[in-house]
Symmetry: C2
Amino acid sequence: MKIQQEEPLSKECIQQLRAIKDTMELLSGKWKIQIMGTLLRGGTMRFMELKRTLNGIAPKKLSNDLQELELNKLITRTVKDTKPITVEYSLTEHGKTLDNLIVEIIDWGLNHRKEIIKK
Amino acid sequence: MKIQQEEPLSKECIQQLRAIKDTMELLSGKWKIQIMGTLLRGGTMRFMELKRTLNGIAPKKLSNDLQELELNKLITRTVKDTKPITVEYSLTEHGKTLDNLIVEIIDWGLNHRKEIIKK
DNA sequence: TTTAATAGTTTCCTAAAGGAAATTAGTATC
DNA sequence: GATACTAATTTCCTTTAGGAAACTATTAAA
């Protein structure tokens, strides 16, 4: 039996696996990337606008996810003193850097659907 | 009070939200993208190699995720009749199309870590 | 014969995610 | 005064994700 000699992982490789972990911890789940994608296309949006666009999301879930995204500096939350009050959400500059990633997610998803249907 | 008149979502927009859903359903979770990223760099790998590389994954989780990825045609599983038997996993052509997406995930994760540390 | 490696499976458990429905509180329209 | 819209919060519940530990079965080395 051959003894399996594996080289230890390179520093770069370990960093890359950590980067994947970091990104996925922020964005995993059913709704977060849909929220970010919606804000990326729609610009500034109100709570109810988001809720209607993200067909099917429960208000609690939307509220929770928005809070998490705000904590991670990806969106800002602004209360307007209209009557009744409205609350506006928009992407931070840092949040906008997700653009390329979201485009890739969309492109891959569209292509994957084609792949699956093809067979 | 102003009646809120929102245009219905464009067909394209609905398709894009669906594409995000599709992609995230396949790849959400703690380990799947790490598995795909590892196979993308490492080429063909055996079960125990993957387990060692993905530091901390439970064998049940690895086994389950590999099965799901195989069902979705992203990887292939090949049993070799070596003694003891070994099982090799590698990416399908379709699986390899995740390359760009994974690169974006890594890039964004690296940049995000810099952003957070900066402050 | 004991130990260890191969690739898992099984069982049991906890934690996290997510949904449904009701509620809150201020304002505005009918 | 009743109803509805704003943006949530609260409570309750179910489902899914994920981890720890033990176990299986084959083979090979010490």
